[in-house]
Symmetry: D2
Subunit: 336 residues, 4 copies
């Protein structure tokens, strides 16, 4: 695997490459430790200077503020047969942090190494303080995908917000389409922070971190704005809220899903409110980052099969399927 | 359906009946509107004096503070072929409330009526402001199950806390075992608030409310305390946190699941923290009640099949299965 | 000091005495440790079974739901020349608690003893781990004053809510009038938890706790409801919100102060919103109890001298002044 | 008043001027509406493109990451005899916002115009929906003062965080010294958002906004880091936390004040925790910005007169006093 072009911010960077709407990008991402944590004796606080590198930014010609960027993830495949996790001082949901400030000394910093078996489709947990091991399903995802923020802001890659960023939701797996608002000409998207798998909320603050091979089909929906990150799968619509406290992340995601539902079905807003109240699902992505994330989801069966953005997900999915056999290392293939 | 004995509090009430450990209780519950909302023209704020009645309390002889009450739900079956939902002034996650106090006038109060088809296993949503209808899966649950609180407190039935109460989690369906701490002699449990189905977080504040026929096998685990409500299913362990802000409900549930995991597997606490971080699931129950709820869940496969409370769930489940054909209206059958 | 009649709940108790509207009550209160912590070697977790006793409840004949109870504090005087404070395991704003659940072990439990010098008007802090001492102004207050809650609830005395309870605000000092909603016939008020002084937010969870001699003039404002605890002083109006997260306590208190301001001045609600935005003060009472509290205050000069409840504060204050010399130990004197 | 050099971000901008340590800067600031709201008919949502301009950034030669920037405010004087306030759609503490997302339509957008009388020392409130007027004390402050953030971030000027920014605390008035961490060479500080006065929490989201003449003495404390914004006055030490939920802003500020207290007095951390618990004051700055702010304060009498940063405040104050008569329009005078 060649070294990807890494950055640690969204916004404020020159693009490393162009990807045109309708093209497929093949790239790779480093793990959140920049690959520096390889054994259980590599403490992140000692071996890492920065955290959470992303590959990018990629400029999408023609994308303008007010448009929506569509990223269909054709493939998110572990680039190594191992992944790392850790507790990190003053980071995580069950520890005093710099924000939830307390007088406790930090919890101990400990590293775990997982074997990743892509053939068997499992990751193998090995306890540090006993001989306990267990296999968990492999479920690769990207923790961090975003665009340059609005208002000229530059945000650390560890922050999730309306520009995407460190969403840390397991819903961002292969086969899905991520929709992001475009805030600057060219959108300037970056991606990284692969997880071999992750629990809801990433409670200790760190998932099973690993480098990834990523194939993503890119498109732009002109003139259609998007208020917050959204995901479409073959069977559901998902909205993502990023905020603190956690109920505000819930509120953002639910309101957006309700609004989206009303738009796609013609339902009055109060009827959409009622329908999502009974049919909606929700889960936390992270409860440890500078903004917490929650997603709100609804099965499209409850919407009589309605799809978002004029069928963009299905179109990218179909084309990606046709091109899949041809993709063999070139930086980009044409979808249209 | 005969009128159940209803109350609107946990604690401070004399028992309506005794249920011995090892017995099966058959009872019924009213909906959260006490059955007074029957058409879309019955506004809850006009036709209801109190909300969220529960059936009980039931005294369990021998249950003492420090024990755990186990309630295995053999059956939760809609007692009507219709259910009601509504928006209610100053209640719900996307509206100003008495707690999240604002200067907005309340959102409009609107009622929805659902058809419940237990044969087809669906509930039918009908929009109020258009002709849109759609069927959603029937998934009956009880919103409110709890015991008398600790410290001599009496809590309104709408409140969830460590004593259980208005947990409003869709995980509380038939086939599961709910574990609750015993705070007073006899435990004094009550149950109610049936939902034909409910979305995660109950975003508008009200589920598909309906009366239920409930069959529950009761047991007491002597000398084993329980810190917060827990649920065991055939395949997973679940802990429930009730608090505001929502991240504290998440923290409570995650910490309890981690502690429980460590106890059942012999894992060190930090290893259990790590394992749950990767294998755990989480979702909000309600984001509208006086305390919000979230649950934390883990598949028992990640625990090499460990089960809680010395196999109580499986034992109650097996016995309930054997007795199921014999249950035909008597108040209680013997499990042991 | 004779032993006061103590309870640990609001609601669910028979009255210990009657106090008629227009009477002055002289009573005493124990400290939050029930007097069991007397030296720095008395650890609360070892010597206390229950916490935060209150004296009462007192029945006020004629008080009915929908009325307002007015309690004018004529005197709050330390009954001892010492007070105690402590850190307590899993309690306080800068430590993991049962609600803000974490994996940290508790912070150490430590006790401090203060000298109280009522003549000099100071309390004397003595460090435990050095010889540092310093005097702070004596500023006696009651942490806990409340009535029986609404809806048949019984709440632990440590909880603040709309019924009052453990407000823990330093604004509740002698010379002020506290207004509380009446939820049950007779109001059933109790009081306790004297603090020789307290910082904003009671950050470690415990103030300078001491027994108090309390003189309070009681009145009932018939037919005037009160939405949340309010305080009137000679120069300001104060509203108190109790909730989590802390911003909701802020919202409740600000909305109530704005509404109250509009009522008293005839200002439109949006103008009152604007006026309080510029003229209002706010501070946390506690950031450690089951509900956090914040108060919102405005100088009555900004309201052209408007006063609340038809001059109740001034009337009670004037009469208390006239009677002060006559009060010499009898349980109650007549104000009207 | 000549047009100041305005920007809308912290970080990512070239300096507009240099100010050496020991120099006094005289400059001016625009109001948060960039001066475009001048009558009650100028709706901010219509006449403003951007909000909250700051003057700067100023480069301080020799300031390096790990140092502390000291800004002593010699003068903050209204540059106009009027100030503006407003409600703004989806902004403020008592309204649904983009973060506390709800289904309510926005509250009405209304503008208020205040007369500012610097001679009498008052601002005059005039109601919009009645003839009510009242004078409030003039208490000029700067809402926004900050440096370039850490980690290469660029933040909108409306955001408060560890770099300072939109702190919106009335404690930032003339006569005080603000300490900020230096994150980039030259510190790159900016300032703006003058308020003729402001209530605690800025509940409607907007203070009495006006342009200001600002005189500030600048210094750098080499090799001494500062964890979060701090203010020193002649009589107190103040720490400022910026976070959501509001209790986290409280926690940050209290922990920092406790740590600072321990450092200055030699107290053990637990003794400082106890002392601040009894002697500390706290109040919200804003409860409307992307991060809420609270400050924690202690009188230096409780610290036997200890002062921060080796007497920097007193030194800057003394020198500013000597130079005050000589300052007559030049950009900078020398303090050392």
């Amino acid at each position: 695997m060649t070294e990807p072009d890494l950055t640690y911010q969204f916004g404020g960077r020159y693009p490393i490459a162009e990807v045109r709407p309708g093209q497929v990008l093949r790239t790779s991402t480093e793990d959140c430790f920049s690959g520096a944590v390889r054994t259980v004796d590599d403490l992140p606080s000692e071996v890492c200077q920065q955290f959470n590198p992303v590959t990018g930014p990629f400029l999408v010609p023609g994308a303008e503020p007010g448009d929506t960027l569509a990223l269909h993830f054709v493939e998110i495949r572990p680039a190594r047969d191992w992944g790392m996790s850790a507790t990190f001082p003053h980071f995580g949901a069950l520890t005093a942090t710099h924000t939830t400030a307390m007088l406790h000394p930090p919890l101990p910093e400990i590293v775990w190494r997982y074997d990743i078996d892509t053939t068997a489709g499992v990751v193998r947990f090995q306890a540090r303080r006993s001989t306990y091991t267990v296999e968990l399903p492999l479920d690769p995802m990207l923790g961090t995908v975003g665009v340059a923020p609005a208002g000229g802001e530059v945000r650390a890659s560890i922050v999730p917000d309306t520009h995407g960023g460190n969403l840390d939701t397991p819903e961002l797996r292969a086969g899905t389409t991520l929709y992001l608002p475009v805030h600057v000409p060219g959108a300037m998207f970056s991606l990284g922070d692969g997880h071999a798998r992750q629990g809801h909320g990433e409670v200790c603050g760190v998932a099973v971190e690993t480098a990834m091979h990523v194939t993503v089909a890119v498109d732009v929906i002109k003139g259609v704005p998007t208020p917050c990150p959204r995901i479409e799968t073959d069977h559901q619509l998902i909205a993502i809220g990023a905020a603190r406290p956690l109920e505000d992340a819930y509120r953002i995601s639910q309101r957006d899903l309700i609004t989206w539902t009303a738009q796609l079905t013609g339902l009055d807003l109060v009827d959409a409110y009622q329908l999502v109240s009974q049919a909606g699902r929700a889960a936390p992505g992270n409860v440890c980052d500078p903004n917490y994330t929650m997603h709100a989801a609804i099965d499209t069966t409850a919407l009589h099969g309605a799809t978002g953005y004029h069928g963009t997900h299905q179109r990218l999915r179909d084309l990606a399927g046709r091109l899949r056999t041809d993709l063999c290392g070139a930086a980009a293939g044409t979808l249209r």
